[in-house]
């Protein structure tokens, strides 16, 4: 496996993200029922569906991965809606900004990009770790990615550990009491359920990083 990531790989990874969300659409709706409003799968899938076109129409000759991610983020912000729209949209926009001008991503770039992605969620959502949101999936995945990088692991290992970090993060939300978003009004009653946003973030990371591993 190559130690850098091309724009083609990113495009492919984005398609895989859409696929994976679509596969889990109803599961995400179901997670959003006991502590939310039962629409998370719908909202995420509808918003991400549109990015396929952005990706497909992104001119062949343009090679800037940052620009691509910004275009994706802008689409999600402007036409995504729901809570996840501004959150994922901002995350992609910030991620794009962090790697603007890059035509290949090195492991270091990837770490930087993902830090910005997590930062976008934090900034837009005014959220902390442990608030029982998507941030609880995304930030741990960044930490794992960074740690693996600092330990000098291979890109493949980095990606694998980021996915594991995301999964642990997602699962951690089950025992948390929500502090942000719709479920934050439930107090103790929010405990015992995985946060739907944490789950969709996991599916995004699983597909995005996973496809980079296989690729």
């Amino acid at each position: 496996m190559s130690q850098s990531i091309s724009i083609e790989k990113v495009k492919y990874a984005l398609h895989k993200v859409v696929e994976n969300l679509e596969k889990n659409r109803q599961y995400l709706n179901d997670l959003d029922s006991p502590i939310g409003d039962s629409d998370h799968g719908e909202s995420v899938c509808n918003a991400f569906h549109k990015i396929q076109e952005i990706v497909d129409k992104f001119p062949e000759e343009k090679r800037d991965i940052g620009e691509l991610l910004q275009a994706v983020g802008k689409s999600i912000v402007l036409s995504g809606g729901a809570a996840m729209g501004p959150l994922y949209g901002t995350a992609f926009m910030d991620a794009g900004k962090a790697v603007l001008g890059k035509e290949e991503l090195t492991p270091a770039d990837l770490v930087q990009m993902w830090e910005a992605f997590a930062g976008g969620i934090k900034r837009r959502g005014q959220v902390e770790l442990g608030d029982k949101t998507m941030y609880d999936t995304i930030y741990p995945s960044f930490l794992a990615l960074q740690k693996a990088y600092e330990e000098g692991k291979s890109l493949k290992e980095m990606l694998r550990e980021a996915i594991e970090g995301a999964q642990e993060g997602m699962e951690s939300t089950k025992d948390l009491v929500s502090k942000r978003g719709r479920s934050s009004r439930l107090g103790e009653r929010s405990r015992g359920h995985i946060d739907p946003g944490a789950a969709s973030s996991y599916f995004i990371i699983e597909a995005f990083f996973g496809s980079l591993i296989d690729n």
């Binding site: 039962s38 912000v77 729901a82 959150l87 934050s184």
Partner: protein
């Protein structure tokens, strides 16, 4: 449970609904070509601050039923229970602005707050004056100490009425925001539900509930409230809601209130009048006078079974604005 609904392809349902809505109400409303935004036929209305609202679909007559004279100028229409995206809210703002600025009225949901907030920034960056008022009337959704975390529910109707009437009078944006915020601050609601709605997009119920249970303090997207209990009598449940609402705002003997009893979908008006009777008895016991009563379906959750009680403490200005005539699509007052 099979889904019994009169729909066609679920993915077309909002578009088809809007198509019907615009034909049925073409004397009062038009649709923007570029975005899923409905606006008052004569918007932007010269000399008037624009009132913009919006949110997820599935709450009919909210939001689009409140478009009209003395009420709302433009609505950004979201998917079922999903806040409208930034671009859509931004287009609604532009469509409502006649140069005197725009007030955004929205419920306190992170989706709405973020999307409306970003749209507001976008519009401001283009020189449009935009303010917003966020409704947080649901006392069941957070303790009083964390009031700014509460959900907005049927109380938003009161904001539209008051802000809409003031805008129609020609007031400026600052004034409308100030009075709108006072109306919201004076408004408290609480609801109950015994039957979920079925989301037409997924065919799934918005929540699970036992055959003899009800959810006290439910949100109008089926969000859990304070507790799950056995069904109670109309008087018992109304007493529970009304006292909780009354105790949250320092209502005092001699106060005047507007009462809004809102059906969430399938609860009959007959039941709601039985419940209102109890609200009136309790208010009378407290020495609180009813200024005006609204009874009906104002902010539903598709066909959810349940209702909510909203009280707004009145002052002379709010009374004038509540009593002003209006000519909304589904909210008309002489």
């Amino acid at each position: 449970m099979k889904v019994k609904k009169f729909i066609n392809q679920p993915e077309n349902l909002i578009e088809e609904m809007l198509e019907g809505f615009v034909i049925a109400n073409q004397n009062k409303v038009k649709r923007l070509e570029t975005e899923r935004v409905l606006v008052r036929k004569d918007a932007p209305v010269t000399g008037k601050v624009g009132i913009v609202t919006g949110g997820g679909s599935g709450h009919k007559p909210a939001f689009i039923g409140y478009i009209g004279r003395g009420l709302v100028d433009a609505v950004a229409v979201g998917d079922i229970f999903a806040a409208p995206p930034v671009q859509r809210v931004y287009e609604a703002i532009k469509a409502a602005d006649a140069g005197k600025g725009v007030l955004l009225c929205l419920g306190n949901y992170s989706g709405d707050v973020m999307n409306f907030g970003m749209a507001q920034e976008l519009a401001q960056s283009e020189g449009i004056e935009v303010e917003s008022v966020i409704v947080n009337d649901d006392v069941a959704s957070s303790p009083k100490e964390r009031m700014d975390n509460r959900r907005g529910v049927a109380g938003e109707v009161i904001l539209w009425k008051v802000a809409g009437a003031l805008a129609e009078e020609g007031a400026d944006l600052k004034k409308i925001k100030e009075v709108g915020e006072r109306a919201v601050f004076n408004t408290r609601s609480m609801g109950v539900a015994h039957t979920p709605c079925i989301l037409p997009t997924t065919g799934k119920p918005s929540f699970q509930i036992g055959e003899e249970e009800m959810e006290i303090g439910v949100g109008h997207h089926g969000e859990p409230g304070i507790k799950r209990t056995k069904m109670m009598s109309a008087d018992e449940v109304t007493e529970l809601l009304t006292r909780q609402v009354l105790e949250d705002l320092p209502f005092q003997r001699g106060d005047e209130v507007t009462v809004l009893v809102n059906g969430l979908g399938s609860t009959s008006l007959l039941e709601m009048y039985i419940c209102f009777r109890k609200v009136a008895q309790i208010l009378s016991d407290y020495g609180i006078k009813i200024h005006r009563t609204y009874m009906g379906e104002f902010f539903t959750s598709l066909e959810m079974g349940g209702f909510s009680v909203t009280l707004t403490k009145m002052d002379e200005e709010l009374k004038r604005l509540i009593d002003a005539p209006c000519d909304g699509i589904h909210f008309v007052q002489h």
